[in-house]
């Protein structure tokens, strides 16, 4: 895993041309945009109201009226998946925001200061990494009770050391460069150099890591909701839908199949997007293809 951060002199048009020639990036972008569009659409319109229970329509197989069938309360699965997309995206996005917002400054600071500050930060990183994400989520839920907000906090906390590590590694590679030396000679301070020169140069690394963590966040949120620690009913969430489906696998397999596919497609799209961005911006990986 080499971290190349130096962008060759490239025009924006050149990068765009390369982006649209990259298959992973294109497919990833299309899938991700589609998922986001569906989530946004759900604010304005869904085929059925997800809060209305129609017992007469319960556990119906997919049909022209209900494309993905209905659940045990007669709710339309397609509509629930659309609304569930909101929840998944919101949780994962905020969790990435927490990780970036706290992790990146910490990592940049450690790289800039070095010495004891760096060592201390890496040890705290080790500490957080010692708690598997799911385990810390379980602990956080044990304290504050289950809910979407606590799921966000749990996933977000785990994201902090990830971004701190990436930011630190990226920044360490930039600090010895000449233009940083020039900036120091010009009398700029550590903070200013970090913000004005280091950050722009590690932005692409952070973007790639961001898409990966976004995808992992969606998976983690689904897992937490599945065991009842995430979003609480009646708020539809993909993980919760799978939990409801579990005991009805034999009689209503569609209840499990479609929400699961929604998760797979979303995560797949984000991963492809991340791979694509890394490919486009990293000359080394392109040579490998």
């Amino acid at each position: 895993m080499t971290m190349r951060v130096d962008l060759p002199e490239e025009t924006i048009a050149g990068v765009l041309a390369k982006a649209f020639g990259n298959r992973s990036f294109l497919i990833g972008l299309i899938i991700t945009s589609a998922v986001v569009a569906v989530a946004l659409l759900s604010f304005l319109w869904t085929p059925y109201d997800v809060t209305r229970l129609v017992i007469a329509d319960r556990t119906q197989a997919p049909s022209p009226a209900h494309w993905f069938g209905t659940d045990h309360f007669g709710r339309d699965i397609l509509s629930m998946i659309m609304v569930g997309a909101r929840n998944s995206i919101a949780v994962a996005l905020v969790a990435v925001g927490i990780g970036m917002g706290i992790g990146v400054p910490l990592g940049a600071f450690a790289a800039a200061r070095g010495g004891m500050a760096d060592e201390a930060l890496m040890r705290v990183n080790d500490l957080v990494f010692a708690f598997p994400a799911l385990l810390s989520a379980v602990m956080i839920t044990a304290i504050f009770g289950p809910g979407a907000v606590n799921a966000i906090i749990a996933i977000g906390i785990f994201n902090i050391p990830v971004f701190a590590r990436v930011a630190r590694a990226g920044a360490l590679a930039i600090w010895p460069r000449e233009f940083i030396l020039a900036a120091r000679a010009a009398g700029k301070g550590m903070t200013r150099i970090s913000i004005e020169h280091i950050l722009p140069n590690i932005a692409t690394l952070l973007l790639v890591q961001g898409t990966i963590q976004f995808a992992l966040g969606i998976l983690a949120e689904a897992g937490l909701s599945y065991v009842g620690l995430g979003a609480q009913p009646p708020m539809p969430s993909w993980g919760r839908m799978l939990f409801d489906a579990q005991t009805r696998m034999v009689t209503a397999p569609w209840m499990a199949i479609f929400p699961g596919m929604a998760i797979v497609i979303t995560v797949l799209g984000l991963n492809l997007l991340g791979d694509g961005i890394a490919d486009i911006l990293d000359p080394k990986s392109r040579r490998r293809r």
Partner: protein, 315 residues
Amino acid sequence: MTAYLLKRLIIAALTLVLASIVVFAVMEILPGDPARLMLGLNASADQVEVLRNQMGLNAPLIPRYLHWAGGLLSLDFGRSYTYSVPVIDLVRERIAVSLPLALIALALSTIIAIPVGVFSASRQGRAGDTLAMGAAQLGVAVPNFWFALILIYVFAVWLRLVPAGGFPGWSAGIWPALKSLILPAVALALPQAAILGRVARSALIEVLNEDYIRTARAKGLPYRAVLWRHALRNAMIPVLTILGLQFAFLLAGTIIIENVFYLPGLGRLIFQAITQRDLIVVESIVMLLVAAVILINLIVDFSYAIVDPRLRGRQ
């Protein structure tokens, strides 16, 4: 090498101590009085007070922590509030399910991932590679508990080859017990294998571009020998790193998978303990899993030194 290993050992010990302080602190914040919980609602305040004294709950914070941490070291986790048996007995019973499950999953994931990685790397860019990596890309995106549901549907409900859930216990014989762990292990292993396969492939490709590989080929070694003997060994560092992370992930992953398959493992125990507010069980399991993760990372660090002779010289 001794200096390197010593440094890793000290860091691991330090992390463990810090982790125990965090867990202890978290459990202190938690609402609910264990003594009140054990005695029930009808107990008088005096009775609760007596039990609090007995349990050492009235002692000052630091002695209480030291007592708890000291107990952990000698595997004395205290007594469960709800079951009134030593926590270690509960844990021992449950670990006999969770640990074999995680180990089988890890073995499965490695057995699948390494050959796939080697296959893909040696056919870089060709149809086989594209196909394998496409499958891996898909595998990474599949949530293991959903995959578990599909497996149950196909192999337990439809084909009736294995039980859909539950665990007969090791006393029922090795085979029936193993049989009920197969599906959970596969569900845990496949997504992990997808990640590991991708890492193995890219690590190998990186190595295959090195000069010494060309040298090995130039001196007449067959491609297969170069691939398996020279390249794979040098690609092991990133693979080992991921493998270590994955074991931690698998241990935690059992928490969810055990719920899918109704397996009486640590994961089920921790959920029961949370709903029953049996905090001493929760903190014991959390500490145990955290210690396992730290230990695994230490083993990975040590194995770097074995795989990569260059590290032995460094501090």
